[in-house]
Symmetry: C2
Subunit: 182 residues, 2 copies
DNA sequence: GTCTATAGCCGGATAGAC
DNA sequence: GTCTATCCGGCTATAGAC
């Protein structure tokens, strides 16, 4: 009864992968559906068969990152040391989803998307609050902003391309804890 | 003999100011010349009178930041403690040119611009080298990347809007020195 | 210095053939 | 599931009137 042909969702995944690659090179506004289609060697209408709108593609590209954020928040909430678990979780997220995080965390089109989908925006705010801890002073607030903003860039910095995932992860976590204790 | 009417360059500055504001909200790709014209209450062709191409506008928006970078590099080179002077200079740059730095440092269109204008790209690389110092280890390289990427975000983080320039500057410099000594 | 008008191209999105 | 053809609107850029 399995359907060997046209396995559901495979086309979607190919579109999402191509979109992510192009988004990270040219930004969301700078990427047209035509480019995505060309990249896959298909027609523009074939892309529309998978996603009715461009926003739908953005949503699908972002989805796995937000899923992981939900897990991080759940883990941190279940832990005694919220701040440390959240910090490590964020570092893991950056490693596991380099391209999604780096390509989209500073994209103006994604910012607009988040303004229209407050459940997603709330996840980011919640993670921020966990890093801040209760009653943060000015220095801590700046340190958290610096760390959060920096994390996104580190993921795709070409100058760090020779550093393996494990080394990067452990140094990031260490630097994060260091910064947030400053 | 002064010419009270049509003071040279004033029109250009108004275009640049409007462009910067829109670039920071919508990104470069997401900003059309029509939007810039509308924002100034003039026609699209009036913008073309000041700048022959959109790239010309990008160049003019970036110019002051690169000028300041040149000064920072010159100052650091003349100093004994290159790394500290460069770090402080970068923090000052972020404060003085928040919008330019934040809006454009992660913009894919600007990245493409830099690939075509290697003199400008070289300034950024040179500053990076000054922060790294001679023979940096892995941890230092990651710290520099984290700091550089984070600086850009801090400048426009709405959550830090209540912090004055002076407080922000001194904390940033302090956090920078702290991070680079980690 | 700003305007209208227009060229020519490309954007997102849809309809319908195969 | 992919294609061609098409709609309509917006884009950069130019020409020329005022």
């Amino acid at each position: 009864m399995g359907k060997p042909k046209a396995p559901r969702g495979q086309g979607r995944e190919r579109v999402v992968a191509a979109a992510l690659e192009l988004f990270s090179e040219r930004g969301v506004s700078g990427t047209s559906l035509q480019m995505i289609a060309d990249h896959l060697g298909i027609g523009k209408a074939a892309v529309y068969y998978q996603f009715k709108t461009k926003e739908g593609i953005i949503e699908a590209v972002l989805a796995p990152a937000f899923e992981q954020m939900r897990r991080i928040i759940a883990d941190a909430e279940a832990s005694e040391s919220q701040q440390e678990v959240a910090t490590a979780g964020l570092c893991n997220l950056v490693i596991a989803q380099r391209e999604v995080v780096a390509a989209l965390s500073h994209d103006p089109e994604v910012r607009r998307f988040l303004e229209m989908h407050s459940e997603a925006a709330e996840l980011i705010l919640q993670l921020g609050r966990m890093l801040l801890g209760p009653e943060p002073d000015t220095r801590r607030r700046i340190a958290v902003s610096l760390f959060g903003g920096g994390l996104a860039s580190v993921g795709i910095d070409p100058q760090l391309a020779d550093i393996g995932d494990e080394a990067l992860r452990s140094e990031l976590i260490s630097l994060g804890q260091f910064l947030l204790k400053a």
